[in-house]
């Protein structure tokens, strides 16, 4: 029942007086009589939050979010029907003369918080997908998988590049944090997320796609980036996008850093890397190669050159030494210099037997490279157990598959001894065992006395970790001397602000954090880019995104298996790879990547966990605004209803419905009913039904007005998060009504269409074509290149614009010459713009000299 709180006899007053005077939050306001407090406030631009409000209607049951306090309610003759005396629903209470309204008093805030908490308790769903939350880069994984499922590979890559500019490399070497938390594990196996990423990157490379990544207007600020590896490239990419003029200084003769000199070709082929780097450079970035910091220039030099800020992203390329006697031997290498040599294409004689000392990821690449260099026996030596090796288990397995052996619980003591015949080195080892656990339960390894052992080898490579700089101070100048380092030889930088101890100098990536995965370097450099932007523009940093999140269950144990009712087992696609026997013969890539068919099948496995209403959910927005801690006050934990996909345009998830019934009240066709078997004492529904009548015309207005993700556009399967969405106001391309619409654009993709209720001729209405008929914009069938048929009977073939224009111009000129201008004609289109139509007829009339020009309005 709509509640209207009116003093008795009020109706009699209306015709007599036309205005009321009241105060809202102390502001005196004169308003027309007969408006609700909410309407008066909105017209005076005083915000009052609402959930169930639809202009011109009253919600039932009431959400009570719009409550306000009426300080003098007794004088106004009002009695509250809400729990707290003095609070009233502003959407259902008329503004009266003399009223004193408070929109955000303590009581009001408390009431709103309580109501939001109660409503949120019944709301069940994931805001963000677990994969998305687990990825250090916070990449919109679900989103790009959805693009892939629709065949929109270009869009998928653009979405990835919003947060990660090196998808080719990451798609090949990422440890795949996301896959460990993929919900699909509860059905069968995780989605093969990383291979999908690699697929789109490769697809776009093979199809020569120009991603057309837009840049902001030039800021006039210049930024120096030291180091052209993943961190440096990432910082340069994001800073360039922001409109800064960026120069990369790289010590090596080529860009790429660890991607080029750390990962062997069987992991990241050089041609792929070159393509990746070029696509970043195409944004317009200056590069200075073979410029070593400290030798060729100093931080002061950069300042003097006019750079407004400097980013240090030099990676961690200085090997920690092996501290045993006789390592000064030409057959003893350190990991990074060894890999650099291999990656430069050198193939020195490594002998028949080699030992790799260390158990990190780099050690695995060293071992696998040794195998490829013809070494028969490669042994990795590590003082702890296999499970404790810092290398990724996947990398360990891959090395093992290629014949690498592991000598565990052993540590080298000397390389001074005389080797067996035909070998070059004798490596003395000692066996290790676990010691007593320390305070934190960690057990150190200790040598077992008298357990020495030895191994004759030809080559030893040590991989014991890296630091960023060799010396305790950086060589160079005064500023370098001020640059603080960490005890482990990294550049000290505040993890939040990326600031080093020198003003205007920032650091990120492995150089600051020590060796980590590529995606972590990307994240750190992206953060640094944001910080540098704020620094040079003297702007506050954009606030960090809220961590607020509804979830179906934080850990796998919390997730109800009922979520997966009706989902059949479909195992993940196996990525084709070369068998180890042949793979070890050369440095060519081992994993071949998904075919398009496989990628499509794999993308289909995604359960689309996250909410596609992420960008428009009112409940989440208000919960955040009112600081409701749903982790304490509670949220839905089990699904009560299956997801309903029977409507052609709209997907319904009743588990997310908060029973505000806005959808029902905005439908102009009276085609929707939302009902409940009963409501509990707080107005929350039990046994919810949402039904579309036969008269539903799929206009989608209900979806655009849903408070949550309970109603969703079926075609809108990419959640919009983080990066801002551009609203482009334009005119509908279909019928002649000329509805005004808003295209929501992310990157270069039109994600959805909505309409502004304030703007005519349609005032928020759109038909099914307007709201849903935009997929064609990004359809794979779009014509993307000019085509010509060189001769009648021959097929159309793609050509460059130049050739197509020349062909056309010559043919037209010839016909005009031979048969006169009236032998040519033009048909223009009622779908093109007015300007295009004008230019078209002008071309025929003024250019060709004929009036043979018409359009097809007759049909």
């Amino acid at each position: 029942m709509p509640i209207r709180l009116l003093p008795s006899g009020f109706w009699l007053l209306i015709p007599l007086m036309s205005n009321v005077k009241l105060t809202i939050d102390g502001n005196e306001i004169i308003a027309e009589k007969g408006l609700t407090i909410l309407e008066v406030a909105r017209r005076s631009r005083i915000p009052i939050p609402t959930l169930c409000y639809v202009p011109g209607t009253v919600g039932d049951p009431a959400c009570e979010i719009c409550v306000v306090e009426i300080a003098n309610h007794a004088e106004c003759g009002l009695r509250s029907q809400l729990k707290t005396e003095g609070l009233f629903r502003s959407c259902a209470t008329l503004a009266l003369d003399g009223m004193e309204v408070l929109t955000s008093s303590e009581a009001v805030i408390a009431h709103r918080q309580e109501r939001l908490a109660l409503i949120s308790q019944k709301h069940f769903g994931d805001c963000k997908a677990p994969c998305n939350l687990t990825c250090p880069g916070q990449i919109n994984v679900q989103g790009y998988i959805a693009h892939i499922a629709m065949g929109q590979y270009e869009e998928a890559l653009r979405l990835i590049m919003e947060r990660n500019p090196v998808p080719f490399s990451v798609g090949r070497v990422c440890p795949r944090f996301c896959e460990t938390r993929c919900r699909r594990i509860l059905v069968d196996e995780p989605v093969s997320i990383n291979h999908l990423k690699r697929f789109v990157a490769d697809w776009c490379m093979n199809h020569e796609i120009d991603l057309k990544i837009p840049k902001e207007r030039p800021t006039g600020k210049r930024i120096a980036v030291i180091g052209g590896g993943p961190a440096g490239l990432t910082a340069a990419f994001f800073l360039t996008r922001k409109g800064h003029d960026v120069t990369i200084f790289e010590a090596a003769p080529q860009l790429g850093g660890a991607l080029r000199y750390g990962f062997p070709e069987y992991k990241i082929p050089k041609e792929v890397l070159d393509y990746e780097i070029n696509s970043i450079l195409r944004m317009g970035i200056n590069i200075r190669l073979s410029q070593r910091w400290g030798t060729d220039f100093t931080l002061q030099d950069l300042k003097d050159m006019g750079f407004d800020a400097t980013f240090i992203g030099i990676g961690a390329g200085v090997d920690l030494p092996l501290d045993i006697p006789c390592t000064e031997n030409e057959h003893v290498y350190a990991a990074t210099s060894f890999l650099r040599m291999v990656n430069l294409g050198k193939r020195p004689d490594m002998g028949r037997r080699a030992a790799v000392i260390g158990g990190n990821n780099i050690a695995m690449e060293v071992a696998r490279s040794l195998v490829r260099l013809g070494v028969d026996e490669v042994t990795v030596i590590y003082p702890r157990s296999r499970i404790e090796m810092p290398a990724n288990q996947r990398n360990i397995k891959e090395a093992e598959k290629e014949g690498v052996q592991f000598l565990l619980m052993a540590s080298p003591v000397s390389i001074c001894g005389v080797p067996e015949k035909n070998f070059r080195l004798k490596l003395d080892l000692i066996r290790m065992k676990l010691g007593e656990p320390d305070k934190r339960g960690k057990r150190d390894v200790i040598p077992i006395p008298d357990s020495t052992n030895s191994l004759s080898v030809d080559t030893v490579v040590t991989s014991l970790g890296q630091r960023a700089v060799a010396e305790p101070v950086v060589k160079g100048g005064e500023l370098e001397a001020q640059l603080a380092l960490t005890p482990r030889g990294m550049i000290q930088a505040n993890p939040r602000s990326s600031q080093t101890s020198v003003d205007g100098v920032f650091a990120g990536g492995d150089a600051a954090s020590g060796p980590k995965s590529v995606i972590q370097a990307v994240v750190s450099a992206r953060r640094a880019a944001d910080n540098i932007h704020a620094y040079v523009m003297q702007q506050p940093k954009a606030p960090a995104e809220s961590r607020f999140n509804f979830t179906r269950g934080r850990s796998f144990d919390d997730v109800s298996l009922r979520n997966f009712d009706g989902i059949g087992v479909q195992l993940r696609e196996k990525v084709p790879e070369r068998p180890p026997e042949t793979a070890i013969q050369d440095f060519d890539e081992v994993k071949l990547g998904f075919t398009e068919k496989m990628a499509l099948r794999e993308a289909d496995r995604c359960l689309s966990c996250g909410c596609t209403a992420f960008d428009r959910c009112d409940l989440k927005r208000l919960d955040i605004e009112y600081k409701v801690n749903i982790n304490k006050t509670g949220m839905g934990t089990v699904p009560h209803y299956p997801i309903d996909k029977t409507h052609p345009a709209i997907t319904v998830d009743r588990n997310k419905c908060i029973f505000c019934r806005r959808c029902e009240r905005v439908c102009q066709y009276d085609a929707l009913t939302v009902s409940a078997q009963s409501v509990d004492e707080y107005g929350r529904p039990v046994g919810l039904e949402i039904t579309f009548g036969d008269n539903c015309v799929s206009c989608g207005k209900c979806v655009d007005n849903c408070s949550t993700g309970a109603l969703n556009k079926r075609s809108r399967i990419v959640p919009i998060q983080s990066e801002k969405v551009r609203d482009i106001r334009t005119t509908c391309p279909y019928c002649g009504t000329g509805c005004q619409m808003i295209l929501k654009v992310k990157g270069q993709t039109v994600m959805e269409v909505t309409a502004d209720p304030e703007v005519g001729p349609n005032y928020g209405d759109l038909c099914v074509k307007g709201r849903f008929g935009h997929n064609f914009i990004h359809h794979p069938d779009r014509l993307k290149r000019p085509l010509i048929r060189r001769q009648k009977g021959m097929p159309l073939e793609p050509v460059k614009w130049d050739e197509a224009l020349e062909f056309m111009a010559q043919s037209f000129a010839r016909i005009r010459g031979e048969k006169g201008p009236d032998a040519l004609a033009g048909l223009s289109s009622a779908r093109c713009t007015t300007e295009e139509n004008y230019a078209f007829q002008k071309f025929f009339r003024a250019g060709i000299g004929t009036n043979n020009v018409d359009h097809c309005a007759r049909y």
Binding site: I209, S715, T730, T731, P733, Y734, C735, G736, T737, G738, C739, P761, D765, V768, G773, H774, N775, F776, I777, D781, R782, L783, K784, R785, L787, I788, R789, L796, W801, L805, E806, F807, M808, S811, F812, D822, A823, A825, G826, L827, S828, A830, R831, C832, T833, T834, E835, E836, Y838, F840, Q841, R845, A846, G849, N852, D854, H855, A857, R858, Y859
Partner: protein, 547 residues
Amino acid sequence: MTNTINGIVDSDVMLVIGSNTTETHPIIGLRMLAAAKKGARLIVADPRRIMLCDRAELWLQQRPGTDSALINAMCHVILRDGLEDRKFIEERTENFAAFRESVADCTPQWAEKISNVPAGEIEKAARIFAQAERAGIYYTMGITQHTSGTDNVCALANLALITGNLGKAGAGLNPLRGQNNVQGASDMGCNPTFFPGYQRCDSPEARRKFAGIWGVELSDRPGLVATEMPDAILEGRLAGMWIMGENPVLSDPNSDHVRRALEKLEILVVQDIFLTETAELADVVLPAASFAEKEGTFTNTERRVQRVRRAVPPPGEARDDLSIINMVAARMLATGHGHSISMDPVFHTVPPLAPEIFAEITTCWPAMAGMSYERLEEGPLTWPCPTPDHPGTPILHVDGFPRGRALLSAITWQGPEELPDEEYPLVLTTGRVLYQYHTGTMTRRSRVLEDAAPGPYVEMNPDDARAAGVADGDEVRASSRRGSIVLPVRVTDRIQQGLVFIPFHYREAAANLLTNDALDPHCKIAEAKVCAVKIEKTVTEPAPLAL
């Protein structure tokens, strides 16, 4: 439209004729439904029981092609009973005597014989319409796509004039444009007889004016209208064509004829966003931009000029249509800014760009002279808008007509060119469905729309179905003198006996293979809405025996 879309809500009576508004113009349909809810009286004249009929006070189920008979009879009743607006007729119209004469014999009984609408209902409709304070007329292709299309429109104008329903809110004569920018394309002189702004090419004065603006002498030879072009090609008069954003192979009546003609061209250039049926025949295909990839304006059915704004760049090497025209012009004529390559790294536009063209447009047509992109940024403007401080003109003819007085025209009803006979006993009418648009180039590639209306069908009355021996869902062959197509049948009493309906969006059963390309003598519009057809059950070949 002489009036506005949102003004519909203010009307007392709506006459919707030959327009399935809720499907073809859903938002205008919504306004009609809202007006009906508020108490406006709705009269629908349509051979099919369209959705609006459910809310109508009166549904006149005329035979296709008999509209002007119906309207003339309504006028007859109004004059007979003295319901006309004498003051309006005296002050603002001319030729009344001849007009009165022309409808003198058009009695409701006469019209009943022709249109099959009971005389009593015609009388009733006339009275409801004439007695309203504000009565609006709404129509679309159902009125114009006939050999008598021009006459139909004149008849409706007569009705509006004698009842004084022009120049005020909630009334008017309102053609609902079927495509987003039909209005703009017409305004801009994409038409063989008019320069931009409806200035006639055969007027020496207009030619002088445009020669001045464009800096070249202009031809006084009349041009060909689109519907005449196929014959001109087949007769060897036309050798090269450039088709921008149209798909006549699917949208034109008697499309087989069109296809044969286009194939005979020495050069056909098609510019489009997809490889349409027409583009498949081309010698040069130029990849163009969708509405979301260009800047410019569309003019809606209310004459309201509204901005189109670029949201994303065109895919691959595709270019916006204006830049393509500029590139061709630069290449062929060394005009424009002389650029044939782009300086814009992301959008690849080639000048002169839309704002510059728009400024040129405002110099050649007084009705848009007061508009500019700056003003449009603040909101749309409705022409006529002659000066920079003019607010635009949402309702036409408030103070008078451009020619002083409006002409009442004497119309004699003429039947459609092709009538059903023994061989082709049914009348075919074509149209749209809500979920699809035109030849489906865009809608059929938008999943929701295609899923909702995935395939063609022919609507047939239960009696006709019984006579033809077909049941709902059967596959049938629909044939006319020009061609035949195979599609499933939908048996429904929404359609009257003797009539069948086929939506024309579908290439797999293109309705326009059947339709008639006979032309209206005045405006050369083809009679796509009426032709004679037969429907037969397809004989299914016995499946080959499996071994």
